[in-house]
């Protein structure tokens, strides 16, 4: 039995799901941030919204529907970007708005308003079930395994795509893998912080880690640690003060970056990390 504020069963389930997402989202985010694709999580999140709406409409478990739509969308987005038919931000905008529009239309087709949709939009970590936790943990294992096995090659592509291609690395395959992993992360995280905030957990812990770390490996694992800390502290604060847990977790992650930046005093908010 855990002490307050994690003494209740629902808080322990939330903690389990949250810790997995808090660790995995920044792992993938570290690669996205370096490639200046910080908002990719947002774009995929909006596609996942359309998937959730389709699942609710068709009576399929929304998580699976979201996973299929997010993975297909992420691969299409990567293909569009890599073929040079649309710049990175234009490709994102295309999917961003198509996803949200598709979701709105599908919700409109439902006979009645579905309250379940809100738990995906704003997060419903306090309502996660044991089967939710198992799915999130399974997706987490996929993400960590992929990073451990392919992390070095993904890093090489982040450094320089062209010389990686000359060196014989499967650059297109690795880019597609990263897009799929981002989609898996978004789907795993949407029950925790919600589709609207999912990208924050992929970016904010990375921004904090970059202030402190002096290598890519350190950035990777430190960002995961910051993500986990944000989830634990955010959940605790939400329980103690009766706050919305998804938003609180993200605010803790943002505060961690603010404090770290001020305390360590180095200018690390670079283009691509937090936009601008």
């Amino acid at each position: 039995m855990l002490p307050f504020p994690f003494d209740r069963d629902y808080m322990q389930l939330a903690l389990l799901a949250g810790v997995v997402v808090g660790a995995c989202a920044p792992l993938i985010g570290t690669f996205l941030v370096q490639r200046r694709l910080s908002l990719l999580g947002d774009g995929i999140g909006h596609l996942a919204f359309a998937g959730v709406a389709a699942g609710l409409l068709l009576g399929i478990w929304p998580v699976w529907a979201a996973l299929v739509v997010a993975v297909v969308g992420a691969l299409s987005l990567e293909r569009l970007r890599s073929r040079g038919r649309a710049s990175g931000d234009l490709a994102l905008a295309l999917f961003f708005y198509s996803g949200i529009a598709g979701g709105v239309v599908l919700v409109g087709l439902s006979d009645s308003y579905n309250a379940g949709l809100l738990t995906y939009l704003f997060g419903g970590i306090l309502t996660v079930t044991r089967s939710d936790v198992l799915v999130v943990a399974g997706l987490g294992v996929v993400i960590v395994t992929a990073v451990v096995v392919c992390g070095r090659a993904l890093f090489a592509v982040v450094l320089d795509e062209e010389s990686s291609r000359v060196g014989g690395l499967p650059v297109d395959g690795l880019n597609s893998l990263l897009a799929v992993l981002a989609a898996v992360t978004v789907v795993a995280a949407m029950r925790v912080v919600g589709i609207l905030l999912v990208a924050a957990l992929m970016v904010l812990p990375v921004a904090t880690a970059q202030v402190l770390a002096r290598s890519f490996r350190a950035t990777l694992w430190l960002s995961a640690a910051v993500g986990v800390a944000a989830v634990v502290l955010g959940l605790a604060a939400a329980r103690i003060w009766g706050l919305a847990p998804g938003g609180t977790i993200v605010l803790v992650a943002a505060a961690a970056f603010g404090v770290t930046s001020v305390v360590f005093g180095r200018h690390h908010v670079r283009t691509g990390v937090l936009g601008g």
Binding site: R35, R152, A153, A156, S163, S164, L174, S215, F216
Partner: protein, 241 residues
């Protein structure tokens, strides 16, 4: 032994002919500079030689194979021009250099003792061994560029192609850079093709210079460059002859 050859290579973007029947070769142990004014087709030729672009007509061979289908890709090293994004990645010098070793061990390969020795040698060659744990973002422009040269050296290539590697780099780094290239040629018998506007630091070590203006208009040792017309010597040929 010829390790790189281009025979009648032409390329056009639409109606704009960029390369027109380019023919040259490079042997193992040769240090060759490719120079030419802006718009002369250097970048396009480089992409064709590396297998990133197909020529409209003509043929390129790297170690006797089509560069796009080269089997042992580690044999071909490449230092790109100003990898701006890479300079901002929060990576240590050693991590950057180790990434170059993947060409040798494969993208799923695990680093062994021989790989770590090769990485050490690459760091030593560019005089960055003492800075191996330093984040690349904290290095000077010249040191950053040397770390990317070490990345290419880490796979122990037999042919190294460099695209404007010392643009804007300080004199000390240019000297270190020249030393590392001559070491690669003299000690390891590798071939080097250097595309650069700034050849002061390496002029003494060059075996040949290729002057490209859509086609090769000069191919010979730097000392014979006088015949090309020094009167209108452009800035990009300074430091030769």
């Amino acid at each position: 032994m010829t390790i790189l050859s281009a025979e009648g290579v032409s390329f056009a973007y639409g109606d704009d002919v960029v390369l027109d029947g380019v023919t040259f070769s490079l042997d193992a142990g040769e240090f060759v500079a490719l120079v030419g004014p802006n718009g002369s087709g250097k970048s396009t030729l480089l992409r064709i030689l590396l297998g990133l672009l197909r020529p409209s007509t003509g043929r390129v061979r790297v170690f006797g194979e089509d560069p796009a289908d080269l089997h042992d890709r580690w044999r071909l090293g490449y230092v790109p021009q100003r990898p701006a994004l890479a300079r901002e990645v929060p990576a240590s010098v050693e991590e950057v250099v180790a990434a170059g070793r993947l060409a040798r061990i494969g993208w799923r390969g695990r680093m062994g003792a021989a790989d770590r020795i090769a990485i050490d040698h690459a760091l030593e060659a560019v005089a960055l061994r003492d800075l191996r744990d330093r984040p690349v973002s904290e290095l000077s422009g010249g040191q950053q560029q040397r770390s990317f040269i070490a990345k290419a050296l880490a796979s122990e290539p037999e042919l190294l192609v460099l695209d404007e590697p010392v643009a804007g780099v300080d004199a000390e780094s240019q000297k270190r850079f020249a030393d590392s290239l001559t070491h690669l040629v003299d000690e390891h018998g590798a071939g080097v093709l250097l595309v650069s506007h700034e050849l002061h630091a390496v002029a003494h070590a060059l075996d040949r210079v290729l002057v490209l203006k859509r086609k090769i208009v000069f191919d010979g040792p730097p000392s014979e460059m006088n015949g090309v017309g020094r009167a209108d010597l452009p800035v990009w040929l300074e430091g030769l002859g």
